[in-house]
């Protein structure tokens, strides 16, 4: 991220210095301002779902659900950390139900809980699953097409499902292969390559 950020920033600023130097500062300010708008909506989502999830946690509801899924999630995420697995199961459940807003706080909590064990594998796997989208019904898109007067707004359901299942399965597969390869390569070479990747 350090590399990408520095490279894109410097290239863009250099370009702007030639094309229109006065817009460099204003675009940075615009970006920072957009952050506040996004954070405001992010907080709205968090306020609703973190509030509810805390109630679910204290009543033992999410622990019960997580326990039922534990044999599966524990194996997939190679972890025995009960809290982390609880958050992970809730995240996956919310994703499948299409509650994108509710799933994010659980994922953040899960990533932080996995951090305690230094379980980088589980953190990345959770990221890969969430970032490739596991939504079953693309509700926003269907609503948008219906609004635009489509004859059958939900006819994209099947191709969307095929694509999302494919991308998630492919990414997870690739990630697991990469993890295996990294282990196989051994510690010394891993240290070398880590310097290049970071």
């Amino acid at each position: 991220m350090n590399f990408i950020f520095t490279a894109v920033l410097m290239l863009s600023i250099a370009m702007l210095a030639v094309v229109s130097p006065e817009s460099a500062l204003s675009s940075m300010l615009a970006g920072a301002e957009r952050t506040l708008a996004v954070c405001a909506s992010l907080f709205a989502i968090y306020a609703v779902w973190c509030g509810l999830s805390r109630v679910a946690e204290k009543s033992g509801l999410s622990a019960g659900m997580a326990k039922a899924l534990m044999p599966l999630t524990g194996k997939i995420f190679a972890s025995q950390n009960k809290n982390a697995l609880e958050y992970t199961s809730m995240n996956l459940a919310c994703n499948l139900l299409g509650l994108g807003g509710a799933s994010t706080p659980y994922a953040v909590k899960a990533v932080r809980a996995f951090e305690e064990d230094g379980n980088f594998f589980a953190q990345s796997l959770l990221f890969v699953i969430n970032a490739t989208s596991v939504q079953i019904v693309p509700a926003t898109v269907i609503a948008l097409r219906a609004g635009a007067g489509s004859a059958s707004p939900s006819d994209i359901f099947l191709p969307s499902l095929v694509c999302t299942v494919f991308s998630t399965a492919f990414a997870v597969g690739l990630f697991i292969v990469w993890t295996k390869l990294k282990k196989f390569k051994g510690r010394k070479r891993f240290k070398k390559s880590k310097g290049q990747n970071g």
């Binding site: 290239l11 863009s12 094309v19 952050t35 968090y46 509810l52 805390r54 204290k58 706080p105 191709p159």
Partner: protein, 167 residues
């Protein structure tokens, strides 16, 4: 579908009531957690958004779009979708706006609009998610997982454009 959310709330609240949880106290504490999460991602998002704005303003993104359009076409992605494909990993609201525009311009049932809908629905804003999930952690060895995610997203787009031809 819409009834799911009220039902979840009623179910959780009802069960908590039965378990004698102090609902107001816990709900408030949860909102507090949410506030702390929001604050912890703010610096990362600010940096990423500044980068995006500069990238757009400098004309580099338009140049990239122009360069990549023929490459994407070679993979079967229509050139009208180049910008959406590039935008999706960075910005959810930006790509939603683009999708709305495409649907309006080409008609909801056109091939282009259907491809765009499938591409939009089948991937997520990877950069945004990585900033939110990994904010505040010491070690951020994210490069490889991120590349894997972007690569699979691209393949899914290629697949989606083919599927839309007959599905």
């Amino acid at each position: 579908m819409g009834v799911i959310i009220p039902l979840i709330f009623l179910g959780v609240m009802g069960y908590a009531l039965f378990k004698r949880v102090k609902i107001y106290d816990e709900f408030t504490a949860g909102v507090g957690e949410g506030a702390r999460f929001t604050l912890s991602v703010l610096p990362c998002l600010a940096a990423v958004f500044m980068m995006c704005e500069l990238f757009e303003a400098s004309g580099l993104s338009a140049m990239l779009e122009k360069t990549l359009a023929p490459v994407f076409s070679a993979f079967g992605i229509p050139k009208e979708l180049t910008k959406l494909t590039l935008m999706k990993p960075f910005s959810g609201s930006g790509s939603l706006a683009l999708l709305t525009e495409i649907i309006k311009k080409y008609g909801a049932d056109s091939y282009i609009a259907r491809c765009a809908s499938v591409c939009f629905g089948s991937s997520e804003t990877a950069f945004y998610i990585s900033a939110v999930y990994f904010a505040g952690l010491k070690k951020k060895r994210l490069a490889i997982p991120l590349i894997i995610v972007l690569f699979s997203g691209f393949l899914a787009t290629v697949l989606g454009c083919q599927l839309c031809k007959f599905m």
